[in-house]
C-alpha cells in the first residue's frame, strides 16, 4: 500500500519538495539551537514558554478535532462520514506527531526526555499528557491503517479494530482536556486559572480540526477524483459553525468574569492582549494587533458560515475556512500561551518576540507534520479511488 505514495503528479512532487525544503532549514536551525541552548529563542526568565508550546497546544486541538468525523460514524452509525473517518485519523497522526516534536524542541535537555518514563510522576499533568498523546497516536495509527489496508485488500476490516476505534473517541477528548489542565491548575497565573479552559479548548479544537480537514478535502476534490460528497461537507460545516460559536461564547464568559468582577489579576492579561498595558511611560502591546485581528476574523467567519450561499460554493467556503482556522490559531497558538506570562506573577511586563531561528524551527515542524499528512492522504485517496472505480 505504501507504494501509492511514490507515484504522483508534478504538483504532488513539487509540494513534497517544498515541504522537504522547510524541513531541512528547520533541522539546520534546530542543530544551532541544540548547540547553543534555548537562549537561541526569544524566550526569557519571565516568558518561559513561547511559540513551541503554543503550537503544541493548538495542534493537540487539531488532533482532537479529528474525532468529530470519527464519533458520528462509530457512535451514531452516520454512514456519510464512513469515507472520511480515515482522513480524520490520519490528520490526527500528523498533528500529534507535530505536538511531540514541538515538546522535544522546547526541552532544555532533550536527551533526557525519557526521564518522564524512568521517573513516572503521577502528580504532574505532563505525565498524563505524555500518556494520552502517545496513546492517541497509537490508536489512530491502528484504526486508520487497519481500515485502509482492508479496503486496499478488498476485504471487510477485522472486527477487533473496533475496540480501538471506540476507545479513540473518549481518548480524543482526554488529550485536549489534559492539555488544558497543564494550564488550568497553576496558582498565580490568573489568566489560565479558569474552569472553562478545558471546555474552551475542546470547542476551539472541534472548529479548527474539522476546518483543516474540510480545506484539505476541498483541495483533494479539485485535484483528484476523490470527493467527500456534498452531504458530508455540509455536515462538517455545521459542526465547525457550532463548535466555533461555543468557543466564542466561552471567550465571552471569560471577558464577563474578568471585567464584571473587576479583579485586577483576571483583567490584566486581557488588558494586555486586547488593549495593551502601560508600564511607566511605555505601553506594552505587541500582541494587540494579532488578538484584535483574530477576534474580528473569527466573528466574521462564524457569521459567513451561517449563510447557505457561502457553504454551497467552494470558492467562497475556502477563504472562510482559512479565516476560521487562522483566527483560532492566533487565539490559541499565540495569545493563550504567551498571554499567561504577561504580566508575570510579580506584575512586571516582559514582552516576547520569537527569533528568526525559532520561527524557522516552528515552520520545519509544521512542514514535517504536513509531509506526514500529505503521504497518508495520498495513499488513502489512491486506495479509495482505486476501489470506487
Amino acid at each position: 500500500m505504501l507504494e501509492k505514495a511514490l507515484k504522483g503528479s508534478k504538483t504532488y512532487w513539487t509540494w513534497i519538495a517544498v515541504l522537504l525544503g522547510f524541513i531541512t532549514v528547520g533541522v539546520i536551525c534546530y542543530i544551532q539551537q541544540f548547540n547553543y541552548g534555548l537562549g537561541y529563542t526569544g524566550m526569557s526568565r519571565d516568558v518561559s514558554w513561547g511559540v513551541y508550546i503554543a503550537q503544541f497546544t493548538f495542534l493537540v486541538g487539531v488532533a482532537a478535532g479529528g474525532v468529530m468525523v470519527v464519533l458520528p460514524y462509530y457512535l451514531h452509525d452516520y454512514k456519510t462520514f464512513g469515507r472520511i473517518t480515515v482522513l480524520g485519523e490520519f490528520l490526527a497522526i500528523g498533528a500529534v506527531t507535530m505536538c511531540l516534536m514541538f515538546i522535544l524542541a522546547d526541552l532544555g535537555q532533550p536527551m533526557r526526555a525519557l526521564n518522564v518514563l524512568l521517573h513516572p510522576t503521577p502528580n504532574s499533568m505532563l505525565f498524563y499528557d505524555m500518556i494520552v498523546l502517545n496513546g492517541y497516536l497509537f490508536l489512530n495509527i491502528i484504526c486508520g491503517w487497519v481500515v485502509l489496508h482492508s479496503e486496499y485488500k478488498g476485504a471487510p476490516p477485522p472486527k477487533w479494530y473496533k475496540i480501538f476505534a471506540y476507545l479513540s473517541i473518549p481518548w480524543a477528548f482526554s488529550i485536549h482536556t489534559v492539555t488544558a489542565f497543564l494550564y488550568a491548575g497553576l496558582p498565580g497565573r490568573d489568566f489560565w486559572l479558569t474552569a472553562v479552559m478545558a471546555p474552551r479548548f475542546l470547542a476551539s479544537a472541534f472548529a479548527a480540526g474539522p476546518s483543516l480537514l474540510l480545506l484539505i478535502a476541498i483541495i483533494l476534490k479539485r485535484n483528484t477524483k476523490f470527493d467527500i460528497g456534498e452531504v458530508a461537507q455540509n455536515k462538517l460545516c455545521t459542526i465547525i459553525t457550532y463548535a466555533a460559536v461555543t468557543n466564542l461564547f466561552l471567550v465571552g464568559c471569560e471577558f464577563f468574569t474578568a471585567y464584571y468582577s473587576n479583579i485586577p489579576g483576571h483583567m490584566l492579561t486581557l488588558d494586555y492582549l486586547f488593549w495593551g498595558i502601560k508600564e511607566g511611560t511605555e505601553v506594552k502591546n505587541n500582541l494587540v494587533p494579532f488578538m484584535r485581528f483574530s477576534m474580528i476574523l473569527n466573528i466574521i467567519a462564524i457569521i459567513l458560515m451561517f449563510l447557505p450561499q457561502v457553504r454551497k460554493d467552494d470558492s467562497k467556503l475556502v477563504p472562510v475556512l482559512i479565516a476560521m482556522f487562522v483566527s483560532l490559531w492566533i487565539d490559541k497558538g499565540v495569545g493563550l500561551v504567551l498571554g499567561g506570562f504577561v504580566p508575570t506573577p510579580l506584575e512586571h511586563i516582559t514582552e516576547y518576540t520569537p527569533t528568526l531561528g525559532e520561527i524557522l524551527i516552528t515552520l520545519g515542524v509544521w512542514a514535517t507534520g504536513f509531509l506526514i499528512i500529505t503521504l497518508l492522504f495520498k495513499i488513502t485517496v489512491d486506495v479509495k479511488v482505486m476501489r470506487e472505480n
Binding site: 526569557s44 526568565r45 522546547d106 526521564n115 502528580n123 496558582p187 498565580g188
Partner: protein, 274 residues
Amino acid sequence: MDMKRRDFLKIAGLTAIAGIGAPTAFSRLLKGEVDGGAAYASGGEGAAADSNRVRLGMVIDVKKFNQYKGLAQKCIDACHQIHNVPDYGNKKDEIKWLWQERYENAFPEHSHYRRNEELEKMYFLVSCNHCDNPPCVRACPTQATFKMKNGIVAMDYHRCIGCRFCMAACPYGARSFNWRDPRGRSADGRPFIAHVNPDFPTRMRGVVEKCNFCVERLAEGLPPKCVEVASPVKAMIFGDLNDPNSEISRILRSRFTIQRKPALGTHPSLFYLI
C-alpha cells in the same frame, strides 16, 4: 499502635499522591498532635506532613534591610558567588536566586490607594519560598524538583529535562532557566561566572535552578549564606518553624509578619517583618 500509624500514613500518603492532600493534615488533627493553627503551617504533601519533623523557615526583617543600605545587595552577591550563579549582563538570560523587589511587585495583591510612603520606597528581598505545599513540585514530571524532609524544596540538576513547567507553576517567579551555557564566556571573553566556587557544582545549559536554602551549608552546620551576611544586624532569622523554642518561632509568635500570596495555599516558609 506503631504499625497502625504507619499504615495510616501510607494510606494518607497515597491519597495525597492522588491529589487529595487534606487527609494527611486531617490524620494529624485526629491524633491530636497539633492544633489547628500549626496544621496550617505544615499541611504539605505526602509523608512529610508531620509537625514532629523539622520545617526550616526564614524571617526577613525589612526595616533592618532598609536601615542598612547595601546589606541586601551584599547578601545577594554572597549567595550568587558561592552558588556559581552566572551573570550574563542581560535580562533575557538572567539567573537569580535572591533579589530585590518593590512592595507592589513582591506583594501585588496588597496594592491599594495611598500606601505608606516609607513602604513605597522599600525594597524586599525575595527568593524561593520553600513552600510547604509547592506547586512546582506538583508540576515537575520527573521529580527533579522535590521536597526534602526538612521542608527545603530542592532541585536535582541532573534529572531536570528543562520543560520549565515548574517556572510556569511557581507563583513567586523564583525559578530561573539556563538559557545558555553558564560555564561559557561572553563575546568579549568575560566568563559568565567570575570566580568559580569549587565547593558547589556549576550547572549546565537547559536546566532550571533556584535558591536551595543553602542545603550544602546546612549539612556542615552552617546557616544559609544570606543569613550569615545579615547576622551582624540580625536582619534575617533562620530556623525550625516546628520547634516552639526556636528563635524564629518566638518571633513569629510575638511579632506581626506577612507572607507573599498566602491566599494561594502554598504555605510559604518565608516571612516578612515590616
